[in-house]
């Protein structure tokens, strides 16, 4: 199996398992799911990118999109607290 395929499969497995675990323990906030998925994405990418630097560069747009989404959830939570 190719490196990219292993990366996608392991990431998919990780977020499905962690999503189910969070569901089982009764987490209802989507921000927590998002934060956990983002952390798993970055950890998996770092593990793979040690073998292939170009993959890290190629996935940079995805990282930016993920971080923008994370910034949005943080901003929303701050506004919620302030209001």
């Amino acid at each position: 199996m190719r490196l990219v395929e292993r990366y996608v499969l392991s990431y998919a497995l990780a977020i499905v398992v962690s999503g189910l675990l969070l569901m089982i323990i009764g987490i209802r906030e989507i921000e927590i799911y998002y934060a956990v998925y983002l952390i798993e994405f970055l950890v998996a990418l770092e593990l793979v990118a040690s073998f292939r630097r170009s993959l890290g560069r190629d996935l940079r747009p995805i990282i930016i999109v993920f971080l923008l989404g994370f910034a949005y959830t943080i901003a929303q939570r701050i506004l919620q607290i302030l209001s």
Binding site: V4, G19, Y33, Y34, R52, I62
Partner: protein
Amino acid sequence: MLHCDQCGKQIPDSLIKKLGHPESVELRGEPHLTTTAERVAVTPPRRSSDVASSSAPVAGLGDTTAKSQAGTIARGQEMHRASVDPPPSILGGRQRVLGVSLVAFGVLIAVASAVVGAASLSGLGLASFLIGLLLVYLHSRPSFGPELVEASLLSSLANVERILRELGPRTKAIYLKTIDRLDVPMVFLPLEDNPAPPSGLNLSGEDRLLVIDSGDSHRTGLLLEAPGASLLALMEKELDLNFIDLGNDDFLNAIKSGMVESLEVAADVKGAFTQDGVSFRIRDGPLRNMARSIARLAPNVASRLGCPICSVAICAAVKAIKRDLILEGATHQAGVHSVTLRFSGGSTDETS
């Protein structure tokens, strides 16, 4: 006795004999080599459509005429077509469909969880959405199959094969050590019998295909960029390291990581230091058909210089060990490359 009109050095008679007639030797420092007209004019130039339908026989080891190598390759590829397997891929061409489906499924789950009021389900919807997004994005990047790599490489190697056949060097190739981090690994193929080469050839200043040194027959031969030099550069870029910085203990692991994980040109690489050199055993990966084609269509390149897959391991070894290495043998059998290298400066006979 002829002299080089650029550097004024004397050209050995044996070299002139190998090249054919004295009139055929052009030594103006140009990056090309001419040979006798009668050798070149065996077959008239053909169009690519003719080449594609050519039924030229597959060239053998002893074939010294300038046959159309392109025809040989076309024939070889035709023979191979039936046995070419697609690369093992779980994603394949359906990756985009799968990605879009997962994105749609994730959105549906998120909407459904909002409607029903099951907030925890939206987490799984988000997971599905993210995996789908990743699949769609990765699919949008261009990727090329091993067949394309093989097709783009064989013509160049066929040209090198023709040079080796025309000049017919009987000596073993010497991979020259690199001094600077940015040096391109070069391989020197002596044209003279070379029973005891010096421990260091010191050809770093040379920028010619044909190196002639009348004062030192050891320094007369072909100076080529190693077939695996570009692959090594890519491997170093992907691993973010330079083999010149690695010690003898580290570089074997780095070669394995680079060839198996980064470049994915091999399924497994085993390297070992022997008493007077290094040996590699490389198991073919997705490029096994290419390696087979090179071994059959460019046997001199494969055995004397090493195919690009063998050569990348040799170049890495030369860079890490920082010594000239003599390629004792490179074979490709049953999907396994076996490479034996010896440190230069030994007493073993260099002629094959």
